[in-house]
Symmetry: C2
Subunit: 622 residues, 2 copies
């Protein structure tokens, strides 16, 4: 048994001090208590271990545990504590109510860890430990994504260089190693071209050219490089300026690694074979003739899969109270779907089994994270959620009712009533998917009884929440979320989920966009700017019409305008651009300026971060 | 006991087929046999483990094993098998002669693995296994280096941006969090400026400006970004072209990660505290007033150390015959010193103990790798080598005698005699350091008895080698290097090393350069081009005069001209530029165009690399 109790002190110490005050239990003990065999574990140090996918085969006939998504209202500058609630609730279920319980969370990017946000291991007495191992490197998955993403970028640009500087015969001769071999990877391209030959000498001149020349149109290249650092100077760059590159310079840029399509793919795959196919399907550009150029055409999808072969396994860690946590994937919440991996959820559901719980976190507000959890992640996996926990705070609700952060500590039931529109719409939205909602009201010392009562009343009566429970897991650990845990158990036992998707695969891409905008955002309509209607029609023609849509929108509002708080209505959503992720298999409409590379502030977190060289301990990480 | 015997078949299968035909032993068993306690081990999966530095404390009073450097003649396009010899010799000593024996080798860059060179785990029946784990990611050290290097680059450029876009008061206010705190990291900068105050409100206006403005002169920025991908398009780029960056664009570029000064530092540090100091001392630019701007000034040296805290531990792996291998660091062989880490060597020497052996590999030819092993690595560590193994092949010697690779298989004693000049000078050079040399003649089936005898005769009589031994470890594993191992044991037992450095710390930088050029390269003199004399004088003034010099030169010739084979004389070495690595603590003169970012060929290795999705096995890696 790995559960253990906390001695919580007041005032609550700094996150890292709490995290370092408890030695993490050996990960093999956590695994054993969670039902994972030692042979299914790949340890990374003593506190992290990768879990092999073979566990799914062993348990394929076992029942699943309850599948619960933890989502939030639209985020505010004050923070609502969604990760903290996920961890605190897991501690309550696992260590206090002794239910088999897993928290499935995202691996954080190192960019924000050293930048403005700090770490992402929860906070107070609800944390994943060791928090420095969680926040730094993990088991290397994001580094593997960076490597795979950038290998593809280098391969594409260098191929263009070689095609530009060599004649047809030389290019074909070099590609085939002096006409000696066509490798199985090259064979895939030949098959795509309908050239069913295996001996490089047999191809006609015309076939050789078709095979060897990808003929990439540089203006169509959509694949960018990535780095897991907040490096704003790399947002827009010009590459290839060296003399040796012979004038093939072009404009491009870097995104933060978690914005890579490779990350979105990792979060959605079933297994290694599915990953191999999806990586090969990534579209990086078009040829001058307008045909898609894929990672498979470039020839490095096999190598990318090899780089990702360990990353496909989720990482087991633990909460402060010894509850198992699966950390896996962490795609961007706007240009991607913002949810942790299907594989981790599947493994956790089998291990939790009958009577157990899996808490999986959806990024941003529920209009983004939860909508995509349902419409993209569950659509892809076929898994059916049993309940949603929706995290809110009185302060954040008052903010949505028009109060500024500096005044949010004062009682203000009028503002609270106005701001409840935000929470109510989220509850109702989740109801449209047939999933019962428990509101977790993350308590602050400044909340008044009148305010707490008002939230409960409106959420239940106007929103239709299954329950509303006040929690204090930040200051009390799992003990502070026991009420929430009991409510969740009751709801999942008495209110069966009638999960349904809100649009069919076969709906047109425009119908899908409009359904999300009207049903979830509360928009009056959609306008297609620039050439987005033509692009969508083009996507349908190219066979991407069955993909779900992944809206790239601000997280701060139901609308496309981050300033519109509460539950705005009557707005028209502008679709400014549309793109497709052919490997991750979704179309993403861009509704505003979406930054895919954060910057560092004037005083970044690293000014606090150092190492105590005597003890080897990290200091100042938050 | 972890030693095991091989059943070698002929013809020798592909490297990956041999590597995958034997299951690696559990790394804990390798560790135990090597004298490492389980509590000193951090496993990464079942076949790799980091070794904690606490082993050094436990064994501080134990005797060291014999310290043997494995070096090569000047490399040729055919490959001489230096890594393979290191591994094969370790297998012979460990598994056949049952001596405690460690091979200490470099972690390979992923760039060449997917590019032109393939992996670096040895070859044939002398390999480190699992070769895919060795060649891909390792235990994440290079990824940590990339992250630390690029955090510093982003921090520097973003600081310049913030300084340019904010007035003095705003900048100081934000840096100190509204005058609330000066962190210990900021305190280091205040100390450097001679401002002994801790309350941000106490500083005078003038002190605030001095503290807050690094005033970097963009033309002096020497810190580049890195990626572990062969991405030639990133060699020369322009960054900061986005509108939000407000026109602070500048020219810079990416190097391959292993060329980062952070890698050179990792290879030379004693411990975590030494690493923290050296990372802080990295000089990234000069201020407009001409003073050095360091990583400490930028404020992220603590965070860089935190990113590197696991990387400071070497990684234990195993040979095909169960001999322990420590993999750690892998700095570039020309702009850095091309040797694996001091820490790994120290740990291995203590674990090997009396009667044991540590084989550590020096990159490139001995004129580069071995000279730097002595003059930089041993100078820094204070360790004294007992012997050198110098790897040569008959084919490569004939190449140095003027024969082209296509003709190297034919007997040609005249060419061999001419090419022996190369080997003889290397033997004599190592003799100047007082270290006895055993030549390992890596046998090929085309070598004739007359050729082998000639090499022996000339190496012994003209070069002064302690012994010359023919080896066949590639086709026979350790059994093929038993004669070499026995010779090495005999030499270390009967011919004590009189190790001495060839220049003193107190010699001037010009004296150091000239000593290496004349004594090791055989040059007639040195010419200082451009402003290199002024720069060297400047380095002396700034206190870098006591650093050793790390020559950035082609590996293909004793001279600066890669076309000059054999043992050229009479040439004048041009010093085209000189730079300094203040963290790694060496000055590096550039003697020619040194590429720090390889490119991908038309047919890169990735065309062969894929994964078997049924078994999860990597295919096509070489």
């Amino acid at each position: 048994m790995s559960a253990r109790k906390l001695n919580c002190v007041w005032p609550v110490p700094a996150d890292i001090d709490i995290a370092q005050s408890l030695e993490a239990q050996p990960i093999a003990r956590i695994a054993e208590a969670a039902g994972i065999l030692l042979s299914e574990l790949n340890p990374y140090g003593s506190t992290r271990a990768k879990v092999k996918l073979s566990v799914l085969k062993r348990l394929e006939n076992s029942p699943n545990g309850k599948y619960v998504v933890v989502a939030g209202m639209n985020p505010t500058p004050m923070g609502e504590g969604k990760s903290t609630t996920t961890i605190g609730l897991a501690q309550a279920l696992g260590a206090h109510l002794l239910r088999p319980c897993f928290a499935c969370i995202r691996q954080p990017s190192q960019g924000p860890t050293f930048g403005i946000k700090g770490g992402a291991a929860g906070g107070g007495y609800s944390q994943v430990i060791p928090m420095e191992d969680f926040n730094l490197h993990g088991t290397g998955d994001i580094h593997a994504i960076t490597a795979a993403n950038n290998l593809l970028a280098a391969a594409l640009d260098t191929r263009i260089f070689h095609e530009r500087t060599q004649n047809d015969a030389a290019l074909y001769r070099r590609l085939t190693s002096e006409l000696k071999t066509i490798t199985p990877i090259m064979q895939k391209r030949l098959d795509k071209l309908g050239i069913h030959k295996t001996d490089p000498g047999e191809l006609t001149e015309e076939e050789r050219v078709r095979f060897a020349r990808l003929n990439v149109d540089p203006d169509t290249i959509s694949w960018r490089r990535v780095t897991d650092v907040n490096d704003r100077l790399l947002r827009d760059i010009e590459i290839g300026l060296g003399k040796a590159e012979k004038g093939i310079s072009r404009r491009t840029g870097f995104d933060i690694s978690v914005a890579s399509e490779v990350m979105a793919i990792l979060a959605l795959v079933d297994d290694l074979a599915d990953m191999r196919r999806r990586l090969g399907a990534i579209q990086v550009a078009k040829s001058k003739a307008g045909t898609p150029v894929t990672a498979e055409d470039v020839g490095c999808a096999g190598a990318m899969t090899v780089l990702m072969k360990d990353a496909v396994e989720p990482t087991l860690m633990q909460t402060l109270e010894g509850t198992p946590v699966l950390v896996h994937a962490g795609p961007f919440g706007n240009i991607a779907h913002g949810n942790s991996s299907v594989i981790a959820d599947r493994i956790a559901l089998k291990l939790a089994g009958e009577g157990g719980f899996v808490l999986t976190e959806a990024g941003f507000g529920a209009d983004m994270g939860c909508e995509k959890f349902f419409n993209i992640k569950c659509r892809t996996s076929g898994l059916k959620p049993d309940a949603a926990v929706l995290v809110a705070t009185v302060r954040a609700l008052k903010f949505h009712g028009g109060v500024e952060p500096k005044d949010a500590a004062k009682e203000n039931t009028d503002a609270l009533r106005a701001g409840m529109s935000n929470l109510i719409r989220h509850i109702q939205n989740i109801g449209k998917f047939g999933v019962p909602v428990v509101v977790a009201l993350n308590q602050f010392s400044t909340d008044t009884d009148a305010e707490l009562a008002l939230v409960r009343e409106l959420a239940m009566q106007e929103g239709g929440a299954a329950d509303v429970v006040v929690t204090s897991h930040w200051s009390k650990g799992g003990a502070g979320a026991v009420d929430l845990a009991q409510a969740l158990i009751r709801v999942t036992e008495t209110m069966p989920s009638n999960f349904q998707l809100i649009y069919r695969d076969s709906a047109s891409l425009k119908e899908k966009i409009e359904t999300v905008c009207r049903e979830i955002y509360g928009a009056a309509g959609v306008e297609y700017l620039n050439d987005t209607e033509e692009k969508l029609a083009d996507f349908e023609r190219m066979g991407y019409g069955s993909f779900p849509v992944c809206m790239a929108k601000t997280q701060y509002s139901f609308s496309h305008d981050p300033e519109l708080r509460g539950a705005p209505t009557g707005f028209i959503v502008p679709v400014r651009d549309v793109r497709v992720s052919c490997g991750a298999k979704f179309v993403f409409p861009l509704l505003g300026e979406i930054s895919t590379m954060p910057g560092l502030p004037t005083r970044p977190a690293y000014y606090n971060i150092d190492i105590d060289c005597d003890t080897g301990k990290v200091v100042g990480l938050s």
